[in-house]
């Protein structure tokens, strides 16, 4: 059994003075693999991702039996400790570069900033060169020119590449990607996924890929976690998805139209209130 990078047991997150329970008892581990977390809006999947980085608003109430990263207790970690982890050991990629990049800062400067923050002894020149190398690694051409551009001057695909560069430049061990391709055109989507695939493999990263697109995740990730209403309802290997046991997962699979066997009517998911109380503890791999 490979050592896990992140261990989470029974994570509970509530908002609004405890009235809204966004995450209810989520348990999973992340190894050096591509783990997908799939769920609809409101399932709590993004909340889990941000909770790991402790980037939730201060009104969030977070508790868990365990939330560790490489032995570091994330629950007890204070802000200073988290600052050594964020960007440096765990990276977070957000959904839409139109909003997730600082509009008044050149993209090169934003990428270099991560490096300069975590390697304060590096000179400006060294950081600059690292930044250019990173832009090259995310397959951007004409790196010097692009580095001087502002976020509104680059396309969505390029923006996500910049985002990835920004989060990988300090060489983290884990990458959390929160809907990284949802704001992109379909053709660009595949390019970005290919890029992520290559980078994750080459750098031996653990990847948490959060998405609402089951099809995307099954083809990209090694393992898949299905979330519903704040709980994990199923965990399985991506290639074993067809043999999913939970009715929610089966319903999701059934509602994906297939080009070989197009149904006359797309099946609609019938939600069983019993699912709100289901929970699946992770089985050892």
């Amino acid at each position: 059994m490979s050592t896990s990078l992140i261990d989470i047991r029974n994570l509970e997150i509530a908002f609004g003075h405890g009235t809204v329970r966004a995450v209810r008892g989520v348990t999973f581990s992340l190894g050096q693999e591509k783990l997908g977390i799939v769920g609809e809006s409101g399932s709590g999947k993004s909340t889990v991702g941000r909770a790991i980085m402790k980037l939730l608003p201060p009104t969030a109430i977070v508790s868990a039996q365990q939330m560790t990263f490489q032995g570091v207790d994330l629950l007890k970690a204070d802000e200073r400790a988290m600052m050594t982890i964020r960007g440096r050991r765990i990276g977070l990629i957000l959904q839409d570069p139109k909003y997730s990049l600082n509009p008044v800062m050149r993209v090169g400067e934003q990428i270099a900033e991560t490096y300069r923050f975590h390697y304060p002894k590096a000179t400006a020149k060294q950081a600059f060169e690292q930044m250019l190398a990173m832009l090259d690694a995310v397959k951007i051409r004409d790196v010097e020119k692009v580095a001087r551009l502002y976020p509104h001057e680059i396309s969505g695909g390029m923006g996500q590449r910049v985002m990835i560069a920004m989060m990988l430049i300090a060489e983290p061990e884990v990458l959390i990607a929160d809907e990284p391709t949802s704001a992109l055109d379909v053709t660009v989507r595949l390019e970005i996924l290919a890029l992520l695939d290559e980078l994750v493999a080459r750098r031996n990263l653990g990847l948490i890929f959060i998405s609402h697109d089951l099809n995307l995740v099954r083809n990209f990730c090694d393992r898949v976690l299905i979330m519903y209403a704040g709980r994990v309802v199923e965990v399985l290997k991506a290639r074993e998805l067809e043999s999913a046991k939970h009715p929610y997962t089966q319903g999701l699979l059934a509602s994906l139209p297939s080009i070989d066997n197009p149904p006359t009517r797309l099946p609609i998911l019938k939600r069983d209130p019993a699912w709100l109380h289901d929970n699946v503890l992770e089985l050892p791999r």
């Binding site: 988290m82 964020r86 440096r88 977070l92 957000l94 008044v104 900033e113 975590h118």
Partner: protein
């Protein structure tokens, strides 16, 4: 294509001939010039409108301008002569244009009280108001911006409540009242500050006006007793105007900051590991810098307004007091001249801030 007829046609679906399609895009320089010309036209029309407004204010006066010159008892021929001299029989447009012409050459009329050309008067007293306004702006910016930003970053804490109270008070308490009360406390009761004017009476005229700013001129000459007197006189009106600037600037800074802090790029900055200070100043603040500039320009307008009342209360010999004295003396030329000047200054500040905004914000370049 087989599916072409299934594709919906847009209502203005025409086909262009080759010639129409092959038209060349306008030269970038032409675009720039056209945009510049558009802005110049806008500014000129606003300026003309401003002039028309003051012109019509002058025309609205219930007093008969002829009688104001000749006196109430006058024969018909004298009345007609003066009437024609003043050009009152001519169409409004001609009168307006001659008014514009006079203003353009600096002829704002003559003050009935001082006997001087109004322009001369204005040039002499303008620095006094500017000195006051500059001090108030400095206080407003140095105190107001950090206060507003801190209130936004530490939302809900004591400093946030303090900032909100400061802002609320500044928007509720009339400035002339604060001035009067401050005079009462600090001058009458505590004898801490000077009375009216910019310096004590026996220091007047001792310092040669180089910049027109007493504080600078006296310091340069080394006349420290004059400096001290000037400081004692400017401190209270400057502080009060400064307070009102702080109230406005802090409220707007807080509002802008709160808006930025809820943006996604702030999450990215934190996810990079950056600490609060860097996130606030290197990221959020950079995004509000330009907006704050606009606020500064608006604050200056507010200062001109406040100066009218504060100068009256403190007897400060600036533009504001000139205006209100003219009002009291029914010297309408003075009133209109001063109003026009304030409007022109405010308009200029706004145009400058607009231009600066466009230059500084990378998104509008």
């Amino acid at each position: 294509m087989a599916n072409a007829d299934l594709v919906s046609k847009r209502d203005s679906d025409t086909t262009f001939s080759e010639e129409e399609v092959a038209y060349a895009a306008p030269h970038p320089l032409a675009i720039l010039l056209r945009r510049l010309a558009g802005r110049v036209v806008a500014i000129v029309t606003t300026l003309l409108g401003l002039l028309f407004l003051t012109f019509s204010m002058g025309r609205l006066l219930p007093a008969d301008p002829v009688l104001a010159i000749t006196g109430p008892e006058v024969s018909k021929e004298v009345y007609d002569r003066v009437y024609n001299e003043l050009g009152l029989g001519q169409p409004i447009l001609v009168q307006f244009l001659s008014y514009v012409g006079r203003v353009a050459t600096g002829d704002l009329g003559t003050s009935a009280t001082t006997g001087q050309p109004i322009l001369t008067d204005l040039l002499a007293i303008f620095p006094a108001t500017i000195e006051l306004a500059v001090i108030a702006m400095i206080v407003g910016a140095l105190v107001g911006v950090p206060l507003g930003i801190t209130a936004a970053v530490r939302r809900g804490t004591v400093i946030d409540h303090v900032a909100r109270i400061v802002a609320l008070a500044g928007h509720s308490i009339p400035i002339f009242w604060t001035g009067l009360m401050a005079l009462f406390v600090f001058y009458a009761k505590l004898q801490l500050v000077g009375a009216s004017g910019r310096v004590d009476v026996f220091y007047e005229g001792l310092v040669t006006p180089v910049t027109g700013f007493l504080l600078i001129d006296s310091a340069v000459e080394g006349q420290w007793d004059v400096f001290q007197s000037a400081l004692g006189h400017i401190i209270l009106p400057g502080a009060i105007l400064g307070y009102y600037s702080v109230a406005y600037i802090s409220r707007m800074s807080r509002s802008f900051m709160l808006e930025q802090l809820s943006q996604e790029y702030i999450v990215t900055a934190r996810a990079k590991g950056l600490g609060r200070r860097k996130v606030v100043w290197r990221h959020a603040f950079r995004n509000i810098r330009v907006q704050l500039l606009t606020i500064m320009a608006l604050t200056f307008g507010g200062l001109l307004e406040g100066a009218v009342l504060i100068e009256t209360v403190f007897g400060w010999p600036g533009l504001g007091q000139y205006l209100t004295r003219g009002l009291q003396m029914n010297d309408m030329n003075v009133v209109m001249g001063a109003v026009l000047t304030i409007g022109a200054v405010f308009l200029t500040i706004n145009i400058l801030s607009d231009v600066l905004y466009r230059i500084l914000d990378p998104r509008t370049r």
